[in-house]
Each structure stands twice: as C-alpha cells, then as structure tokens.
C-alpha cells in the first residue's frame, strides 16, 4: 500500500511500509534490520523517505497534542538546565544510527578527542588515562552528589540494558576485595532502577549463536575492536578477565574468570562503559548480571543501548539487583583502561573458548 508515486522498484513499496510503521510506533528488530538493508541499497532517496515519514508522524503528534503542554516541573527544568551547562554540542555521536554515516562518526569522534584534551588534563575521570589505579582512585573519590528532595530523583543518561539472567543466586562474595570509598566521600546517591529493560540486543545475539562463536566470528570479520584487561583495584592483583569491545557494532564481550557468584540477595554485578564524549561521572550502564554458581569462567555478550562514541574504560561494580542509574562506586570489583585501538585479528587466530561453556541469557529471561 505504498503511495502512488509511480516508481516501479518494488523495494520502494516495501520501504514505504517499513518507514511508515517505524515512524508510527517503531519496528521490531527483524524489520528494523530489513529497513537498514533497504536503505543501504536505495541510498539517499531511501533516507529521505524515512525522514519524511518521521517528520509527518512528528508533526501529527504535535498537532494531536494541541495546546496541552503544561510547563515543565521546576525540578526537571532545573536538571535540564544543569545538563545544558555541560552540553557539548557537535561533539556527541548522532542520535540516529540508521542515518549515521561511519565516516561522519569517525570524524566526529576524532574531533571530539582533540577538543577534550584540555579538560582531560584538568582532571577528568580518566585524566592522563594511563594508570588504572589512578583512574580507580579518581573515580572512587568523585562521588555523584545530586541534591534530592521530594520527588526529585536522578540524573539520567545511563540505561544501557540489562544482562540479567534472573534473580541472583544466594551466595557470598567470598574472596572479593572490599573497596572502600576513602572515608571522605559523601553519601552517594544510587537510586535503584529495578525495571530497566533487558539487553535485547545481547539476548538476541545470544539466542542465535553462542557468544564465543560470535566473538570469534566478529574478530575474524575484520571488525575493529579493542581488548581491555580488567584488573582488581589492588596493585599487583591478577586480571579477572577482559573486555572485547567492537565500537562500530556498539557491542562487546565480558570474559570473566574466577569471579564468584553473588550470594547476597538483592545484589548483582553491573558493568559500566566510560565514553570520552560523556561526563565521566555518568558512565553508560553496560548491564547487570550474576555469575552462576560453580561457573569458573563466563563469557557475557553485552551491547550499549546508548551510543558510545569512544569507550575509554570499563568498570565492574556490585550494585543492588536490577542495577543503579548512578553507581555509589563503593564496591568496585575491577576496572580496565583501553590501551590503544587494535586492528582486526588475523584470520587464523582462534580465541580460547571459555571453560564451563557460555552463559545462556535467554534462560529465565522474560521476553
């Protein structure tokens, strides 16, 4: 039922359907992928059609809402203004990946890196960025202090999905070093966000193929990636695992070994991704999970739901079940700083398959 525009290419007819459905209420993943394929084939003409439908739907929404536009709540407005003061226009990744040309993104990231050099030196989370211990210390001593009164709640930004595998098994955090907050840190604000969404992308991937096979495949495919060792915050401690991050795909794999199951009811591990283009106080949530009892080594796929332009480091914390929006940073298990970007791995290299088999994220997870 495409418009009578006289075009004979049947792909345009399908494009109109998908673009209209997407503009109305979004597409399921399979159709979103189909749309992207069509856009790749049809080029700018397809993009323009999608934009026109989005604009039509937006204009209609504005019209249907009419005059019912109450003023913003004062607390929310204040928070927005606070963000406005930190906004970095033109430096951030584009909001719509479907229309984001990779070359544009690369250029923006490079530009942003150059522009951020000064403030990094001035004392950001990853300031000089070379020392993990230094980085951890800075992170720990830069608490997030958000005035909270009444229904004034939290700062947003971080909602990268959830690697939850169901309720955490009740076990103890035996053997994990405790990390204090230095004693001088004000009580952090870590409101629980128990209803965050499952990491659909990661689960979908896990449903199709085991994580280790997917990781191997991606490395062989020529996709650029970085590998970041995760170290405990105690000097000289061995690595607890590593993260392989594919920036163009916005997905990664967390490979952990000898990380115990959390027994404490109501606690889970939470992964954090630090983006060079975001305020270091508010890393992107990489998801929450627990390690199944008896599992010596696990390989967890994860995906950033918010765009991560330049992942500079990662951290693993223990948080309340369901994860938190802003970490208290008082139970840091491990962290890692990105060394330098790696290119694709040679095709004949096969990474070691984790012992104990991959985790099955689809088990017990509500669809």
């Amino acid at each position: 039922m495409p418009p009578a525009d006289g075009h004979s290419d049947p792909r345009f007819a399908r494009l109109h359907e998908l673009a209209a459905d997407r503009a109305a209420s979004g597409l399921p993943p399979a159709e979103e992928a189909e749309l992207h394929l069509l856009l790749d084939e049809l080029g700018p003409a397809g993009d323009q059609i999608v934009d026109q439908y989005e604009a039509a739907a937006a204009a209609a929404s504005v019209a249907l809402i009419g005059a019912d536009r109450p003023a913003l709540p004062a607390a929310l407005r204040a928070r927005l203004l606070e963000h406005a003061g930190r906004a970095r226009p033109r430096l951030a990744p584009l909001l719509d990946d479907a229309h984001d040309h990779p070359a544009d993104r690369t250029a923006r990231v490079d530009d942003a890196r150059r522009r951020r050099f000064d403030w990094r030196i001035a004392g950001g989370w990853m300031a000089a960025a070379a020392s993990l211990l230094f980085a951890l210390a800075v992170w720990q001593t830069r608490p997030v202090v958000i005035p909270m009164t009444g229904d004034d709640r939290r700062l947003p930004l971080v909602d990268g999905g959830d690697l939850s595998m169901g309720p955490p098994a009740p076990v103890v955090m035996a053997g994990l070093p405790g990390v204090g907050n230095g004693g001088s840190v004000p009580a952090p604000i870590a409101p629980v966000q128990p209803s965050r969404d499952l990491n659909a992308a990661a689960r979908a991937l896990a449903n199709f193929e085991p994580p280790e096979l997917r990781l191997t495949g991606l490395k062989r495919s020529g996709q650029p990636f970085v590998t970041v060792p995760l170290l405990r915050p105690t000097a000289g401690s061995p690595a607890v695992g590593e993260i392989t991050w594919f920036p163009q795909r916005q997905e990664g794999f967390l490979d952990l070994h000898d990380v115990p199951t959390i027994e404490a009811p109501g606690d889970q591990y939470q992964l954090w991704i630090f983006d060079a283009l975001r305020d270091d106080r508010y890393p992107v949530d990489g998801g929450v999970f627990n390690v199944p009892a008896g599992q010596k080594r696990v390989l967890l796929p994860f995906a950033a739901r918010l765009p991560v332009a330049d992942a500079t480091s990662f951290a693993l914390t223990i948080e309340r079940a369901g994860g938190v929006v802003v970490s208290a940073r008082d139970r840091i298990i491990a962290a890692g700083v990105k060394p330098q970007a790696r290119t694709a791995e040679p095709a004949d290299h096969t990474p070691e398959v984790p012992r104990g088999g991959p985790l099955q994220f689809d088990a017990g997870v509500p669809k």
Binding site: F12, A55, A87, P89
Partner: protein, 185 residues
C-alpha cells in the same frame, strides 16, 4: 506565534543560552509527549532529559527543508520515546493496556504556537474517518503497536495496519510542500 527559527542552529554553534531557550520553548511539548508514551513518572523525567541531551548533541542535523524546528524536536523526542516505550513494554507486558485509560487525552484545539506543519497535519487528520483518526492517535501519540491497537479497539490487525499506513502516507503527502521531493516521487 510561530516558534522562531534558529535555536537549534545556535546550539550547533555552541551557544549555551540557546540550550536554555530550547528548554523553555519546547520543554512542555517534550514533556507532554513523554507523558503519553511512558507510564512511570520517573521514566518520563529521564526520557525528557535524554531527549534534550539528544537535541543538544544533534542540533547540527536540523534541516529546515525537511521539518520545522518544532517538528524536528518532536521527531527526536518520538524516536527516543518509541525506543523507551518498546523496552518498557517488554518489561511490563499486560500493564500497557491497563494504563492506557489513564493517559492524558488529546486536546484537539491547536496550540497557538504550533507550526504550520502541525496545522497542516491536523487539517489532514480531520479529513479522515473517525476510526482512522482513533488508530492514528493511538499509534502516533501513545506509541501503541499495531497489535495493541487491534486488541484495544477490536479492529482486525490488518485494518489497523492499513489505517496507520494510509494515514501516514497521506500525512507525508500533506507535508511534502515543505520537504524535498524524492527521486521515486
């Protein structure tokens, strides 16, 4: 009063005052959209902030040939809200329909501040049959899926899809004078 152009351009140039102006001019619109798409007040607040951050970060993509500033704001907002709503729906299966009745109703009196594009859209929507208007409203303003609309209205799924698509095709045609023609047109 038609929203004055140039806020997004000034934001793209790094003008922080323009960011404040954007909040004051479009905060109500974004908040109103968020209240219709999302159930939880905390999520509404988070979504509004996410939308404005996206606007600050994507201001340079604003193209007045495709959309008015107001429409662009709504485009960015809707994209974010649709994503959030779809995630929320996966979390709260069954709760969605129950909460629809509590959603704010639409006000069909056009705001004195709506853009020419929005007025044109409203004119077009008013020409549609009542059931088509209902379906479009549920889809565009509340972000309901075809399946949910079918369940709520009792219309066959195919009918819902047809109403939404035809409505949007008509809306796109109505918007076209402000946009560029595509090669396949």
């Amino acid at each position: 009063m038609t929203p004055g152009p140039g806020i997004l351009q000034r934001i793209a140039e790094g003008n922080r005052d323009a960011a404040r102006e954007l909040i004051d001019r479009y905060g109500g619109l974004v908040h109103a959209l968020a209240r219709r798409f999302l159930f939880d007040q905390a999520e509404v607040d988070d979504a509004v902030q996410e939308v404005f951050i996206a606007l600050w970060q994507s201001a340079e993509r604003f193209n007045p040939a495709i959309a008015s500033e107001e429409t662009f704001v709504a485009m960015v907002a809707r994209r974010r809200l649709i994503d959030r709503r779809r995630r929320a729906q996966r979390r709260n299966q069954g709760r969605v329909e129950a909460e629809i009745s509590s959603m704010p109703s639409e006000n069909h009196a056009p705001s004195p501040e709506v853009s020419e594009q929005a007025r044109r859209a409203l004119d077009l929507i008013r020409t549609l049959r009542p059931e088509q208007q209902t379906v479009l409203r549920m889809s565009l303003v509340q972000g309901l899926s075809h399946e949910q609309i079918s369940k709520l209205t009792g219309m066959p799924l195919g009918t819902v899809k047809t109403h939404v698509r035809r409505g949007l095709i008509a809306l796109r045609e109505a918007m076209k004078p402000l946009g560029a023609n595509t090669p396949e047109d």
